[in-house]
């Protein structure tokens, strides 16, 4: 049964070493308020899954929470690279599992379905096969060899949305932008799903991305994706991003920002 909770209560569901999935894509729909709460708890050795990452990865790495980052991209698109992540990857203070979109999503889908693995038509011939120790199986129906990705279950998924209700129904994104439904796969692979919402309403009207059977915790968190964007609600704060990306000590900048309550 879905419960309404505070950010701090939701963050207490994470534990050291937990496998944490982060929703959103690039600079949109990132559950930054929830990530800030996780960082303030001081967790260590998290295995973080975030396919197209930006400030979410930066925050968790800067606060020392991450042991392994499972990702397909970390950066700020045309604005530049991710300085904290890049430095940590380079000096070996975090481990990085570089995934393709298919190796990442087939792992989530397998976990969501209780399957040990799922086949894919991607990544063949790339270095990811060795780096991720991907295996091949022979199609029992005779089409030849096929690559498979192992299930990658999550302990906790963190997702941000514009609207959810007290029964755990999460409204489908107001605007269908790039990979608008990707959080559904993330939630399905997780043992515990935490959804932060701009608004908690009595009843979500219209199409739903997630239902009450998928969601464990709902937290009201207005501005919960800021200073990144939430399509249909607000855009990314370009001034904040420019200031951050120009700062000569981004680790300190992010830690100070979190300590100050992530105020703009």
């Amino acid at each position: 049964m879905t419960q309404i909770a505070t950010l701090d209560e939701a963050a207490s569901l994470v534990s050291d070493g937990a496998r944490v999935g982060i929703g959103g894509v690039l600079l949109e729909r990132k559950p930054l308020a929830a990530i800030g709460a996780v960082a303030r708890h001081g967790y260590r050795d998290l295995v973080v899954s975030t396919f197209l990452a930006s400030l979410d990865a930066e925050l968790l790495v800067a606060t020392g929470c991450v042991e392994t980052m499972r990702t397909g991209y970390v950066g700020f698109e045309h604005r530049g690279g991710a300085p904290v992540f890049r430095a940590a990857e380079q000096d070996g203070s975090i481990s990085v599992e570089a995934h393709s979109e298919l190796t990442y999503t087939r792992g989530l889908r397998a976990a969501a379905s209780g399957l040990p693995f799922l086949p894919l038509r991607g990544a063949v011939g790339s270095q990811l096969v060795a780096d991720l120790d991907l295996r091949e199986v022979e199609d029992p129906y005779g089409s030849g060899p096929v690559l498979v990705a192992p299930a990658s279950p999550l302990d906790v998924a963190l997702i941000h949305t514009h609207e959810a209700d007290r029964h755990g129904v999460v409204a489908a994104p107001a605007l269908q932008t790039f990979l608008w439904d990707s959080d559904a796969a993330l939630a399905a692979a997780a043992a515990t799903v935490v959804v932060t919402a701009e608004r908690i309403v009595d009843r979500v009207e219209g199409p739903a991305l997630l239902t009450g059977i998928d969601v464990d915790i709902v937290v009201e968190a207005p501005g919960g994706a800021a200073p990144l964007g939430l399509p249909g609600e607000y855009g990314a704060d370009e001034d904040w991003l420019a200031t951050y990306l120009a700062h000569d000590d981004p680790v300190q900048y992010l830690n100070d920002w979190i300590s100050a309550g992530m105020t703009q």
Binding site: G72, G75, L102, G122, W180
Partner: protein
């Protein structure tokens, strides 16, 4: 003709009738080329970050306000639908911009080797998947140098052409990087190596070879875009956003 315009023209020339072209939202050269192809090649459809076949329009709008794209499109595919189409071979041409491309068409978007170790670039994104599953790839970089065109990539993010025939063993729809377009030349995969098929204005074959880290054969054909190309490009990108990827050079 400016560098960006020449690159857009050569990329657009990779399209054939009926192609389904995939581009990202933050790649102005690729977006321009896809829209030029859609306007000039019969039956071409364009996928922009999952948005289905938007009408060609000023790309500045899409780049700076991606949320405007759905209204110009015939729906937006979700991730699972997009990946299903990818795996069953719906997409026939994609423009990609890797940091390194090597002699066998392998591409790198993950990390490069540096004197002190290595440096993270961006990440694999869907590159390992599209090199296996999209019919043909055209790789582009404005920089024509031995830093980009290398004998062997530092990280095999996307698979190449060797050994010959390996893609058939896996029944892959993708044929890998068939064409490379830089500020100086277009190079096409042919008979086990890349050959120079077109030279940018003011560039010589010797320049192209000197800036490439692997051997190139040549079969250069002189050609120029139709008179309508400039007007079409002006309508797609009046503020020359494409120069962000190519520089503004002539």
């Amino acid at each position: 003709m400016r560098v960006a315009d020449w690159m857009v023209w050569r990329l657009s020339c990779q399209a054939v009738p009926g192609d389904v072209i995939v581009v990202g939202v933050a790649t102005p050269l690729a977006l321009c080329a896809a829209f030029v192809a859609r306007a000039t090649v019969p039956g071409v459809r364009v996928m922009v970050g999952g948005a289905v076949d938007p009408e060609p329009h000023d790309i500045a709008e899409t780049l700076y306000d991606p949320a405007s794209l759905p209204a110009r499109s015939h729906g937006v595919l979700g991730q699972e639908a997009l990946l299903s189409h990818l795996q069953r071979g719906t997409f026939t041409l994609q423009f990609v911009s890797p940091a390194q491309i090597d002699a066998s068409g392998q591409i790198n978007t993950v990390r490069v080797t540096t004197p002190g170790g290595s440096r993270w670039l961006a990440g694999p994104l869907a590159i390992p998947d599209i090199t296996a599953a999209v019919g043909r790839l055209a790789a582009y970089r404005a920089e024509h140098s031995q830093r980009v065109l290398v004998p062997q990539v530092d990280h095999v993010t996307g698979s190449g052409q060797q050994p010959a025939g390996w893609r058939q063993d896996y029944r892959l729809a993708g044929h890998g990087v068939q064409t490379i377009v830089t500020s100086q030349a277009e190079m096409a995969w042919n008979d086990g190596q890349y050959e120079v098929t077109s030279l940018a204005p003011g560039t010589s074959l010797a320049d192209v070879r000197a800036g490439c880290g692997f051997a190139l054969s040549d079969a250069v054909e002189a050609a120029s875009p139709p008179d309508s190309f400039g007007e079409l490009l002006e309508s797609i990108d009046p503020s020359r956003v494409r120069d962000l990827e190519a520089g503004g050079g002539h």
